[in-house]
Symmetry: C2
Subunit: 351 residues, 2 copies
């Protein structure tokens, strides 16, 4: 691995990370992967994760873990990767031009779970860390995709994330919640992917909460507006941000497992199963059409099987489907596939 | 609809099309849609196409036809559309800069069929015509995606297309066959989508067979090399090109229906069905990650349900699948998912 900080130090306007930054983040991401897999195996109670370790020709590697045909989880993947190389892609350099000409280091843990029971939501998580020349940043998030509408599940999920965020900065949750709604949006369907959660990227000690130059970002989004109102958050350190990401990670099992436990024994019939398979199609559409991580990975010789572990094991498309008026399926579309203020949901009265 | 050829005529270096060009192409594409639907209904013998007519706010509309749960076809869509508007997208203007600032007209018929029996291949077809300011062109093609390897089917398909092409120009088939192999390629899988067929775009009276500036094109592809060897084909008229596209269209039923008839009664088990569902995932990956028409349509407020009619009704993904050595599935990967000279297949000896 090459040294990352030998270049002209006057370029940087933020403090360098600790000298052991990469090892610390990578270690934590791996122990996080372990902890999550243990928690999910316990929740499933039957299937276990199988691991594939892999290396990347250009530098680095990872460990992909898949659970299949479990009691709860029809399929679940939890990946850790740590890669390095010569150049970041142009889409990232737009946001961090200081990284140009520098080698990069990137590490992350990502996860998608596709439960069997249609009353249990799908969940996605991804936390990552980059270093390139004078710049470094944290990114990631978590979002929930229910098939059937249960307010209490969604409120619990959002409240758990908010509590984790609030321990670090009260501005995090409100801004990253908006960003999540805006990122996980299927323009061609005019639908959110699910009920969101939190999403952030390019978090460092000098940046605003929502960097306007973020690839694909727009200055007129709600997340951008809120970030501008908040202004630059002063005195954040590398340690603060790392601790924040750790809190987000630690919030995963408490945010999701109680929902699994509450819904796992609810009986369902072919109607719910067919709707779940149909809605999984939206997951595929989002990941292949919009998700920058997926598209970037596929186009740059990433490990295809690990990248596409996020796709559901079984999916259905149906031309011209529309939910029956007044049905639970219709309620999902009308309320849960639009951005909502879930934290104040009860206060504002049920819809 | 606005007039298309009122601009400075000195810009154009090719003859204008006939004054009734749009009506003639559109009429033919609609009668072609009718004929294809009749032929497919006859082949299915049970299900019929249901039509949705739609209009587009920015100008134009179409008629989408879907067959579902047929005896032969699990799902099939045949779309006709005719649209116009202010500006062509930048990706097309790269290739035809003369069209910049001009309103455009585009019409086409496209089709994807997903048979139920895994021994019958999926087929895709699309023929289209554009006018914009001083320029116009024809494009399209057809390609076959088998799930199981039958040389005789593939040879018949390619020979029928070659015969149709050869009636117009002996250079068409060899060049457009290479272009098809290169276009329907999944880089992240290192696989062709299927056994190809023919594909072409930007065909007019002045262009080369394979325009180097074609969005996504590369000058070092086999299709580009062959086109350069052939050079510009002189004396092609609008009538010649329209007649060529008509011949390609007319070749569809004779190219495909005999394969359906030959394979429709072959018994299959869950193994073949599961492999078919798995391979259909590649169709989804291609259409959502690479297909310019699909991506452009989704990102520009096209009619989503019509665009995504190409997606299979049921699909499966499986982490880390590899075909069993020596199996028919392995033979598909080894021979049929790589470009092959199918016309000279028998001459060159079976693999």
């Amino acid at each position: 691995m090459t040294a990352f900080f030998t270049s002209n130090a006057t370029e940087t306007t933020q403090p360098l990370p600790p000298s052991d930054s990469r090892e610390r983040v990578s270690q934590w991401l791996q122990s996080f992967q372990d902890k999550v897999c243990e928690g999910l195996e316990a929740a499933d109670g039957q299937a276990t994760f199988k691991q594939d370790s892999w290396t990347r020709e250009e530098g680095g590697g990872g460990r992909s873990r898949v659970m299949r045909e479990g009691r709860v989880f029809e399929q679940g993947g939890v990946n850790f990767s740590e890669v390095w190389g010569k150049d970041l892609p142009p889409s990232i350099l737009v946001q961090r031009p200081e990284a140009k000409g520098h080698s990069f280091y990137a590490t992350g843990t990502s996860m998608v779970l596709h439960p069997r029971n249609p009353y249990i939501p799908t969940v996605h998580l991804n936390y990552r860390y980059f270093e390139a020349g004078p710049v470094w940043w944290f990114g990631g998030g978590i979002d929930l995709t229910p098939y059937y509408p249960f307010e209490e599940d969604v409120i619990h999920f959002h409240q758990t994330l908010k509590d984790a965020c609030d321990r670090h900065n009260p501005e995090y949750y409100p801004t990253f919640k908006l960003w999540c709604d805006e990122y996980f949006y299927l323009k061609h369907r005019k639908e959110t992917r699910g009920v969101g959660g939190i999403f952030f990227d390019y978090q460092d000690t000098k940046g605003d909460l929502y960097p306007i130059a973020y690839p694909g970002s727009q200055s007129d989004t709600l997340a951008a507006q809120r970030s501008q109102e908040v202004g630059t958050i002063e005195n954040r350190t590398w340690e603060d941000l790392f601790a924040f990401v750790q809190s987000c990670g630690d919030a995963f099992l408490p945010a999701y497992v109680p929902i699994v436990e509450r819904r796992q024994n609810t009986e369902y019939s072919d109607r719910q199963r067919q709707f779940q398979l149909y809605r999984r199609g939206r997951y595929v559409e989002f990941n292949l059409v919009y998700d920058r991580g997926t598209i970037f990975g596929l186009q740059t010789n990433g490990r295809t099987e690990s990248i596409l572990m996020s796709l559901p094991p079984m999916v259905r498309w149906e031309y011209g489907y529309e939910p029956e008026p007044g049905s639970p399926e219709a309620r999902l579309y009308e309320i849960f596939l639009k951005p909502q203020d879930w934290i104040n949901w009860s206060k504002n009265g049920a819809h």
